[in-house]
């Protein structure tokens, strides 16, 4: 086994949860400022799950979702995925583009671009917060967007992990807007080698 991620101590799990908390907190603030609505977030979940079970975290592998995907470059590479159920993605687009809620039924080029920009801003805010905490410089790639089955979108992240092991470490935070219109899942999935780097940086190795 390359790295047995199953053997994280309670303290290490806590450290990762705190990383999720700080990162997602920053992201939630950014999102809140853009759409001018209060955004609540839950306590981040840190979970080590069999690869095949990851899609169940977002409503099952055939749930229709919009996903913004970014690779993370730097000393602790990984992937970021911002997933929104279809209705939430449309609602967010309506809000961003100044349309009436319910107007968006399919995404045009501008809508897609807007969603990718949201992914970009959230990822930037998340990684920026991580930097202050860990002093690890992490840079996001250009975002990419897909609207499809959750399993198909998640497989992009999972395939990278699949070469190394059979489990994924996911740091997941759920966002919820005050009017319940927008519900999103933000995933940070460190590449297998990155976990050690992050834990060392926060001093809980």
């Amino acid at each position: 086994m390359a790295e047995d991620v199953l053997e994280l101590s309670a303290m290490q799990m806590d450290a990762l949860r705190e990383i999720g908390n700080i990162g997602a907190g920053n992201s939630a603030t950014a999102l809140s400022q853009i759409i001018n609505r209060k955004i609540d977030m839950n306590v981040p979940k840190v979970a080590i799950v069999p690869l095949g079970d990851v899609p169940d975290l977002v409503g099952g592998p055939d749930a229709m979702v919009a996903g913004v995907f970014l690779r993370v470059y730097g000393k602790a590479p990984g992937s970021i995925l911002f997933l929104l159920p279809k209705e939430s993605a449309f609602y967010l687009v309506d809000t961003l583009m100044g349309k009436k809620h319910g107007d968006t039924q399919t995404l045009d080029f501008m809508d897609e671009s807007a969603l990718m920009e949201i992914g970009n801003i959230l990822a930037g805010a998340y990684l920026n917060a991580l930097f202050h905490f860990t002093k690890l410089t992490l840079l996001p790639s250009i975002p990419a967007l897909a609207m499809d089955m959750a399993g198909a979108i998640l497989s992009v992240v999972l395939v990278q992990l699949g070469q190394m092991g059979d489990h994924a470490l996911v740091i997941e935070t759920e966002f919820l807007s005050e009017d319940d219109g927008i519900k999103g899942h933000f995933f940070l999935v460190p590449d297998p080698g990155s976990l050690e780097t992050i834990l060392t940086a926060v001093g809980v190795k």
Binding site: L51, P55, A146, D148, M149, V159, Q160, D166
Partner: protein, 161 residues
Amino acid sequence: MPELIRVGMADYKVGRGSATIISYGLGSCIGITLYDAETRIGGLLHIMLPDSTQARSNENPAKFADSGIPLMMENILSMGGSRSRLVAKIAGGSQMFTFANATDIMRVGARNAIAVKTILKDLRIRLIAEDTGGTYGRTVQIDLNTGIYKVKTIDKGEKEL
């Protein structure tokens, strides 16, 4: 109500007769079905990667095309399926996100499809239908009564292979 057997990522299931085997939400992964029409024994394998020899962790043979297909085949044969009657149908292998400078890992769907075909050829299993490529997800299911392999998508409709 016919039995519905679910196959997760990097897994496979075999069965016979009235059962239907289904796998949801394939992206770059490929769903490979092997079927013997006479005994109505068949299976569905959901692979993620082409080659177990290139991976650092290969304890789970069902994750890879090169180790998963022979494994499922042996299982079908041990249930009484005939190797000479086995036919294959495959679906999946899409590219969900397009980047300008796509790395190898981003093109894994296409590499999966090539690997699957090579392995089927090596095993001398006839590939009689395929629906691979594209940029969209697929849900696949094999009806072991009829051998019909159904491929569902969100925007591109549904087809039977």
